[in-house]
């Protein structure tokens, strides 16, 4: 690419985004809408991030439905399409279903990649490709990023670098074991005995892909398999699409899903020997395999950020973040895209956020753009004023159809404030944790939650004179939260905040 045509030459920018996957592109789109100058740099050569490579064998595990109860160009549609990036203007929208062949609600990797690239192209989102972030320095007024193209200076930096760097646990002998990312086409495993370390989605993706080829597949990890059918979480469980290898395990068809801690691994001339100890049942195992692969997950490429004081969790793989996705320990460093999962939220009833996927983090990026604009650059976005009698219908409509509240249950919430002069304002969609842990005027936040019986219900959090009261509204078999009972109950909840007789 000719140097003259490359955008964002090294220099000084208000914000620098590192990464050209869906997280970086989504944030760039919303920052531009708010008029915040920024540069986007990426070590890749094209947009798409992890979807340029993964998933290796399968379709995505997130749906994009074309035929839905709501119009394609409406806001509620985004709940039925977890993979398309968000746009404020209908002419900016690019729907992943437009790139799908209609044989599945789950796009293939290529379909997803094309959808992201089309979003970047239609919205003319510039990226300086082939520019790798190498090192980071912190100053009083911001940061300097050293890159392969030169130095970038900025007040705020957002790393949307994915959580896609191969990660392997400490097991003696694992250093020679190929990772999931190194797998070759499935047919190359014809007639082989394949041993997969791991029993989460990437392990099951391999098992599913190799099923027609391998003569034996063993998956092993210490913890029993947790399917989304069991824990109802789309985030921290094996999705039902991968149930077939597990059924094969249950029927004794040659696939095994074992609960075992791997003690050590030995490579020999013809393959591998795996020594393990059963966890659910205390058995000493020795396995022989032709192929051994570590489907043990991924980590965030943090380069030298730990040296700046960045704290991490989940075995040093994920940065610890505030509810607005800022490093909990290095102010001014933010994370976008998949790494926004570092702001864990409340995990109510064990249900984590969907920030690890496009479905969740696209909403995070819209909120982050506004947060950066307001916090660092003094952008004043007018709030919509509501009449008191609009509050209940507005909040219930959000619980019924806001994609933010459904994709990010108990994580994002629609907030309405009541000012001391009794004027009522829509404060927008905010992280629920931020609302609960911050002070402010009387207000009500509504979100959608899924309880430990699997029932989806709206939950209202009422802040009155600084104290928070949680009120869980009734559920509904058809998920209609707009009935008389809901109106009456929510009116009862918000009435004390509003002027007398205003409802």
């Amino acid at each position: 690419m000719a140097e003259l045509n490359r955008p964002f030459a090294p220099g000084t920018y208000p914000v620098v985004i590192v990464g050209s996957g869906p997280g970086g592109l989504q944030l760039s789109y919303f920052l531009r809408r708010l008029g915040i100058g920024h540069a986007v740099i990426s070590s890749d050569e094209a947009p798409g991030g992890m979807f340029r490579h993964f998933p290796l064998f399968e379709r995505l595990i997130t749906w994009s439905k074309r035929h839905t109860p709501v119009p394609l160009n409406s806001r509620p549609y985004d709940w039925y399409d977890w993979n398309s990036l968000l746009a404020d203007d209908p002419s900016h929208r690019v729907l992943v279903p437009d790139f799908m062949d209609g044989t599945s609600i789950f796009p293939s990797r290529q379909e997803m990649e094309r959808g992201i690239a089309a979003f970047a192209e239609r919205n003319r989102l510039d990226v300086r490709y082939g520019c790798r972030w190498v090192a980071t320095r912190r100053h009083n007024d911001g940061f300097t990023l050293e890159t392969t193209d030169g130095e970038y200076h900025c007040r705020v930096v957002v790393f949307a670098v994915g959580v896609a760097e191969p990660w392997k646990p400490e097991i003696p002998g694992i250093e020679h074991v190929p990772h999931y990312v190194e797998m070759r086409p499935a047919r190359e495993y014809a007639g082989k005995r394949v041993f997969i370390i791991g029993k989460r989605n990437s392990a099951f993706e391999l098992a599913d892909a190799l099923h027609p080829w391998a003569k034996q597949i063993i998956m092993a990890s210490p913890r029993p398999v947790v399917f989304s059918l069991y824990n109802r979480s789309p985030a921290a469980s094996v999705r039902a699409r991968y149930v077939i290898p597990y059924e094969d395990h249950l029927f004794g068809g040659g696939t095994f899903a074992l609960d075992a801690a791997i003690d050590r691994l030995e490579r020999h001339a013809d393959g591998w020997r795996i020594f393990a100890t059963g966890t659910t049942h205390p058995v000493a195992f020795t396995f022989e395999a032709d192929v051994l692969v570590a489907a043990t997950g991924f980590t965030t490429p943090l380069a030298d950020l730990r040296a700046l004081g960045l704290k991490t969790f989940s075995h040093d793989r994920i940065p610890s973040l505030t509810p607005f996705w800022e490093s909990a320990t290095v102010p001014g460093v933010y994370f976008g895209g998949t790494a926004s999962m570092g702001a864990v939220g409340l995990r109510k009833y064990g249900l984590g956020s969907l920030s690890g996927g496009v479905a969740g983090f696209r909403h995070n990026m819209r909120i982050l753009a506004l947060h950066l604009a307001q916090t660092y650059f003094g952008v004043d976005v007018p709030k919509r004023e509501l009449r008191p009698d609009e509050v209940v219908p507005f909040l219930l409509a959000e619980a019924n159809g806001a994609p933010e509240l459904w994709n990010q249950r108990a994580y994002l919430a629609r907030v309405v404030s009541v000012q001391p002069d009794a004027r009522v304002f829509d404060e927008g969609v905010l992280p629920l944790q931020y609302f609960l842990d911050s002070s402010g005027p009387d207000a009500v936040a509504i979100t959608v939650e899924t309880d430990d019986h699997g029932e989806h219900r709206p939950a209202a959090y009422v802040r009155q004179r600084g104290a928070i009261n949680e009120v869980v509204l009734p559920g509904d078999p058809l998920l209609n939260f707009d009935g008389q009972e809901h109106h009456a109950r929510l009116a009862e909840v918000v009435r004390p905040l509003l002027p007398p007789a205003s409802l």
Partner: protein, 140 residues
Amino acid sequence: MIERSDIVDTLAGLALFADLTRPQLEAVAHTFEEEWFNEDQRILRQGLAGSAFYVILEGEVAVKIDGERRSTLGRGDFFGEVSVLLGGPPTADVVAARAVRCLVLSGPEVEGLLMTYPRVMFRMLQAQARRLQQANRWRS
């Protein structure tokens, strides 16, 4: 930086998990999530349903009821189990008194853990009995 093996070693040193074999500890380490909380961050919220069970690996937390500090918990201590076992919201806030690293198990998974590892249940019962004894002494 904490590796899974370090967590297994840490768990082995905690009274709650003292009776488990190494493979069982590995399974427990894979069952819990690890989280890190900065000083002053709220971990458990008084009155909010759907909370989880926490075991402190590093650091210290303050237990507060209606804003008043009632006790302090440190490495090896656990909290959140009462609301999970009784199915109600926590009756106290738990706030990081300094940076805290915890293992977290969602409420719905706690029963499974205790039924799978009865010795963990016994150790938890012992700890609860001690807390009750201490509370009774404090009252008398």
